[in-house]
Structure formats: C-alpha cells, structure tokens
C-alpha cells in the first residue's frame, strides 16, 4: 500500500491538472481585480463600498435620472460629491494634544464616559466603479447591534442624511436605480456566535495591546504602515463602538503614527465639528476626522488626487466616506 502522503496526494480534491483552477492565463475577473489593485483601488470589502456621487441640492434627482435614462457610455451624469471643506486653523490640534485630551476624558469621566459596545452605527458613501459605466455613489446607513446572548442583528438602509426624504441611488444587480429614502436593503438576525480573533474579539483599551490587536486584524506580522492602520481602524469601527478608554488608546496610537498631519477643522456630513488629519499617498488623500474634545474617531474620507479616465474618476472625487455614530 502506498504511503500516507501518496494516498493523500491522490485524494487531492482540486488537482492542478483538473477541470477547475488549472494554471493558465488569468480570467476576466482576475484581470479586473489586478487592475483595480494596481490602481490603488480596494476591490474587496466586507461590506459594499459606498460612494459619493450625487450632485448637491435639487439637481441630484435630475442627474440621477439622466444617468438612468442615458445609460452607460455617456459622460458620468452623477457628479462626484465634494470632499469635506477644511477650515484652516491657526493652531490646529496636534494628535499628541488630542491623545492627552482623550486620556484625560477617559480618566476623569470614568463613571459617565461612553462605554465600549459591540456593534456599529455608521453612515457611509461609497463609490462603485466599473470599466464600462460611470462611477456611482451609494449612501447607506448600517446598524449592527449585539445582544447579551451573543446573537446580533444587522440593518442596512439606503439613505443620505444630507438629502432627507429624497430618493436614494442603489446599484444592486449592476444597474443603478432609485429607491425611496430609508428603503431597507438588508435586515438580518444572526444566532449566537463567538470568535477570539480581531476584529470580532474585544479590543483592548491599552495602546500597546490595541496596536497588536489591530496588527492581527490586518493579518500582518510587521508593524502597520499608516495606510494599513487607517484601513484597519475603518474595519475596527465597522465592528465596535469604542468607549472613552479605547478611543484614548487609539488616539495615542495615532499620535505616534508617521505621516498624519493636522490640517484644520471640518464640519462632517452629519454636521459634527471635527479636527482633520490628512495622510497623502500615491493617488489618494485620506482625511481622518476626530472629535477635538474627546479624541473619538468620527469619520474617514478617501479622495482621489489623480484622475483615472478608465473608470470615469476625476481628481477630487470622493472614493469613500464613513461617519461613525454611537
């Protein structure tokens, strides 16, 4: 009888010379994903990437309808939204100062301070791109609530708080269409589940341990680079609503992160006042928005700084934006 490794080899469920996944040229999807990565455009997200492309004001619905009626191949009918406006601040709050404020906040308000809570409440706008259609921006609100027994619910609705009551653009099934404001996209209840792996496991409230946690959440054994850290914070806040102590630890990590520059104040898309910190990389600019008093992360915006005509993207278009709430 053959040895055990040979037996196992013969039982390979997906052999290299089998009918599926055999070596050869990439297929269309694989090529498309490679092109997206090389263009610095994340192609995979755990939740749909929302995009900002509705024109402001009353023109929004008209332009959406133009898009719907004119179809692909024409000039993008849905104008890209404007990035947040930064108001220059003579003395912008440094992240070090912000981290100290956050630590004081966590220490002095121990009783009444916000507590860590599993689940999230996030409003987001994501740009959906393809190589044969204009980009579209899809706004949605997502609420995830965990219960004491380990079960949780997830509710996702199409809504744009900047345009209450107006129809909202969706891109389900590949064809952009309008749905009413507040239209329920998904509503799920999940039975009790448990995981000891970040970002499902409880985030620590000590900066060093939180840093290790984020590194594990990003599947890397090397310290996170600044863009990796921002991606992972996005991931973390899509799973957890941080308490004052965790926000303070996160602010401390950010204070020790290279390349984040205080640029001034903003009013975010939910009307909240925030201190803005910018990180620039090839092709994009990330803007991290934090509460100037508590150090809580309020939002993260990614803006294209280079046009990409292949995808109908212009410099200044917002690729995605998340605003986290309690």
């Amino acid at each position: 009888m053959a040895d055990e490794l040979e037996l196992l080899r013969r039982a390979d469920p997906v052999p290299a010379h089998g009918p599926h996944y055999g070596d050869g040229p990439l297929d269309h999807n694989a090529e498309r994903r490679l092109a997206a990565l090389l263009n610095e455009r994340p192609a995979v997200r755990r939740r749909p990437r929302l995009v900002w492309s509705l024109a402001a004001g009353t023109a929004a619905v008209v332009t959406v309808l133009t898009l719907l009626l004119s179809g692909p191949g024409t000039t993008p009918a849905v104008a890209a939204p404007r990035p947040l406006t930064i108001r220059a601040d003579a003395t912008p709050v440094s992240l070090t100062e912000l981290a100290e404020r956050a630590a004081r906040q966590a220490a002095t308000q121990a009783q009444g301070a916000p507590k860590l809570r599993k689940g999230t409440h996030v409003q987001s706008w994501s740009m959906g791109m393809s190589d044969d259609k204009p980009p579209v921006t899809l706004p949605e609100e997502r609420v995830v609530r965990w219960k004491a027994d380990g079960s949780h619910t997830e509710l996702v609705v199409a809504t744009d708080p900047r345009h209450p009551g107006r129809p909202v653009l969706r891109d389900d099934g590949g064809a952009p269409h309008l749905v009413e404001d507040g239209h329920v996209l998904t509503r799920h209840s999940y039975p009790p589940s448990w995981s000891d792996a970040p970002p499902e496991s409880t985030p620590p409230h000590d900066a060093a341990r939180l840093r290790a946690y984020l590194q594990e959440a990003a599947y890397t054994r090397t310290p996170l680079t600044t863009p990796e850290l921002l991606d992972t914070i996005d991931e973390l806040l899509d799973h957890w609503t941080l308490g004052a102590r965790e926000s303070a630890a996160l602010a401390r990590i950010l204070a020790n992160t290279a390349g984040l520059r205080p640029v001034g104040r903003v009013t975010d898309r939910l009307g909240r006042s925030g201190a803005a910190y910018e990180y620039r990389s090839a092709g994009t600019r990330r803007l991290l928005i934090m509460s100037p008093s508590t150090g809580q992360v309020l939002g993260l915006e990614t803006v294209f700084t280079k046009a990409d005509p292949q995808y109908g993207v212009k410099a200044g278009d917002v690729m995605d934006y998340s605003a986290w709430m309690r």
Binding site: M1, A2, D3, E4, L5, L7, L8, R9, R10, A11, D12, P13, V14, P15, A16, G18, H20, Y21, G22, D23, G24, L26, N29, A30, R33, L34, L37, L38, P42, A43, V44, R46, H152, E154, H188, Y190, P191, S193, S195, A197, E200, A218, Y219, T220, R221, T222, P227, E228, D231
Partner: protein
C-alpha cells in the same frame, strides 16, 4: 522592478495556485473561492513591500489567515462552517480515482478529518500544495525544524487513522510495517 511590478508578476504566476489552495479548503465552491482569493491578494497588495523572493508559500500563509477569518466572520460564518463540515458530496465528485480502492478519496479525507486542524494543514501543504519543508515553515509562520517535526508527527497520526479505517488494506501483502501506528 518596482514593488508594484513584482506584485503583478506574482499575482499572474500564482493566482491559480492560490485559488486551488482556497478551493481545496472550501470544497471548490466557485463563488466563495473567488471572493476569498480576492481578499488574499488585497492583503498581499497592502503588504507588497514584504513579498519574499519566492512568494507562493507566503501567499499560502496569507490565504490561511483569510480563510480563518472568512470562517470566523459573522454572516458567512455559519454558511462556511456548515460547508466545511458537512459537504461530503462535494468531496466525492472531485476526487481523483486511485487504483487501489473503489473510492479512496473519501476514506483518506475521512482519516484526514479526524486529525487536528494543525496536523491537517501541514499534511495538505505537503501533499496537495507540494511544498518542501522550508516552504511549509514559511506558510505556517514557524521555523523549519518545527515544521519538520509537525509533519513527522502528523504523518504518523494520519497513518494511524488510515490503518484504523482500512485494516483490511494495511494487513494485506502490500502493507508496510514501518508506517504502522505512531
């Protein structure tokens, strides 16, 4: 070559090998496989500065984490666990016939499934991904000596399970004593 060019070359060269790695662990379900493979290369893209000269074992390591995450992740979790645990029929359809038994894949898989996840992975990396021990070490994120020892022990345990499941074969004329119970 720049990091981006090196990444693109690795992507083209290893896309299908990574797909097979993922498919072997997800019962070859095309929809899930493509999604997980896309995530593997997204993670690899973020870490492209770390891409080693021989990237495939490293990519398998990334894929292992992505698969673990896919299984843990809420939403997909129940579905994947169910598929990973219960889909005997998918195995049966795809297994290559072996000359020395009527449906050898099924019982070899059953023997494999009785081992710990760590034992299974070192065996799969060796037999299915055909990695050498140094490459297995990279994929598992451990030293070569540790990988070698893990493989040795896992082989003994697999052999024991095979013997338990197929006593008739192992006591036959072609059975080899040295591969006996460990």
């Amino acid at each position: 070559m720049s990091n981006d060019e090196i990444f693109a070359a690795a992507y083209r060269e290893h896309y299908w090998a990574v797909s097979r790695y993922v498919a072997r662990r997800l019962d070859g379900r095309a929809g899930e496989v493509e999604e997980v493979v896309a995530e593997v290369f997204t993670v690899a893209w973020r870490r492209r500065a770390d891409l080693p000269e021989s990237p495939l074992p490293w990519l398998y390591g990334v894929a292992r984490n992505c698969l673990a995450n896919a299984v843990r992740g809420h939403g997909r979790r129940r579905r994947l666990v169910h598929r990973l645990g219960n889909d005997e029929t998918a195995h049966g359809r795809q297994i290559v016939d072996s000359p020395d038994a009527e449906a050898p894949g099924a019982w070899v898989h059953e023997a494999l499934a009785r081992l710990s996840e760590a034992d299974q992975e070192v065996l799969r990396l060796t037999a299915w991904e055909e990695l050498g021990i140094d490459e297995v070490a990279v994929a598992l994120g451990c030293g070569s000596r540790a990988a070698s020892m893990r493989l040795h022990r896992a082989r003994r345990r697999l052999r024991a399970e095979i013997d338990r499941l197929r006593p008739a074969l192992t006591t036959g004329p072609t059975a080899t004593k040295e591969h006996g119970h460990g």
